[in-house]
Symmetry: C2
Subunit: 247 residues, 2 copies
């Protein structure tokens, strides 16, 4: 499995304080699976420049792609663009192409391009713009870092735009088998099966339903024939009702 790798940085005090629940991570995770990019780490960090810079610098070296969400709006607490410019040690200022995008969008919708909104045309030098069909103000890509909005519908549109230009690998196929036994009853046979197939990922996820513990086994590999065979094997091992799910 040599798929390209990715990390995500969620910039969001509002998530760390428990005020809102993030949904962008889940959306990105599902989209990356489809194109065979392996999301390997997500960090949720506070709206502080030094924290954002640290995370960007650490993750852009470790992973093929880094996606960020949040902090690119017009208010005083939107510091992502400036932090990214510092992380890459490039200048930042109002860019003509970004301003043109804002102008075009705002004229159409009768919105005034005031001083606050003009902040959203501040783009680090050398970055490419990411389209925002929802509210005009663009995201941007600099090297392997994709900087996108926090509002879910805008984030999703920006992800769709960005992923079109990303080279993925082989989409990972997963199948899920639900076993109505606690993990402690499943572990031994599962371990033996996993040991026979070191190239396959066997995840075991316990759940509690109506007071009973059960186990979801998720088999993941980019080989459909093999995954079908192993799913059948699991079925026969546990002689249980099987639910199959493709991601």
């Amino acid at each position: 499995m040599n798929n390209p790798t990715a990390a995500m940085i969620v910039i969001g005090d509002e998530i760390l304080s428990g005020r809102t629940r993030d949904s962008n991570m889940h959306y990105l995770a599902k989209e990356l699976v489809k194109i065979g990019v392996d999301l390997q780490e997500v960090r949720i960090v506070s709206d502080e420049e030094r924290v954002i810079i640290f995370a960007v610098n650490e993750l852009k070296k470790k992973f093929n792609y880094v996606f960020t969400s949040g902090g690119i709006g017009p208010t005083h607490d939107d510091i992502t663009a400036d932090s990214i410019a510092k992380a890459f040690d490039v200048s930042i200022g109002v860019r003509v192409d970004a301003k043109r995008l804002l102008n075009k969008y705002y004229q159409k919708s009768g919105v005034v391009l005031n001083e606050s909104r003009l902040r959203m045309a501040r783009i680090p030098q050398g970055a490419y713009l990411i389209e925002n069909p929802i509210s005009g103000a663009p995201g941007f890509q600099i090297e392997n870092v994709y900087v996108m909005a926090g509002v879910p519908s805008i984030f999703q549109a920006m992800v769709n735009f960005s992923l079109k230009n990303i080279t993925g690998g082989s989409p990972i196929i997963s199948q899920s088998v639900t076993i109505n036994l606690p993990e402690g009853e499943v572990a031994k046979k599962l371990k033996q099966l996993a040991a026979k197939h070191p190239e396959v990922s066997f995840g075991s996820y316990p759940f509690l339903k109506d007071g009973n513990l059960g186990t979801d086994i998720v088999i993941r590999i980019n080989d459909e024939e093999k995954i079908n065979r192993l799913t059948k094997k699991l079925k026969s091992l546990f002689k249980i009702k099987v639910g199959v799910e493709y991601e």
Copy 2:
């Protein structure tokens, strides 16, 4: 605001692959706010030993408390306890006190303490046990790191147990003001207000509702008198309907 700080590590391939949505982070965030502990970073990492060790080592130095969820069950992919032992460079093995807990719980519920389940009594040297009233197998605390289960109901019970023994700070109060204007119309006045009160956190969170952009302003500080005054000020600045929410 010199409250103690915290980070969380979610150990979960199933979240990174988009299969499930994490809910433990949101629960922990809300509980920490109540006792005045500042959750400053969350990392979601894959089920790999070196990755877990790296995150634990980085975060236990940076923050007063670190909470982990996931990977302490009986299956082959449950590698959290061993990874934590390595991160702290201590030995790990079946501990008598943990085995006694399992025995006690399983005898009551008629479950067999088989070899797989016995893995859950493997606890790093020097760690304290964290009670699990739901399914018996304990979590543990080693220095400032609290290692807990991934199943939400068990995680929550372990958080409740752990937080009883943690010294927090002053609970942060937050009030939220919903303004039916896009951020671009709110930014200037908000910036001026925030500049006058540098000791207060003013977060601005755009939202999209029925096709219209609006803004939630969240004021956060541990001073009830001040927060009430600033909420009134915001109301009068924007002459708008106000929703107040206490966390």
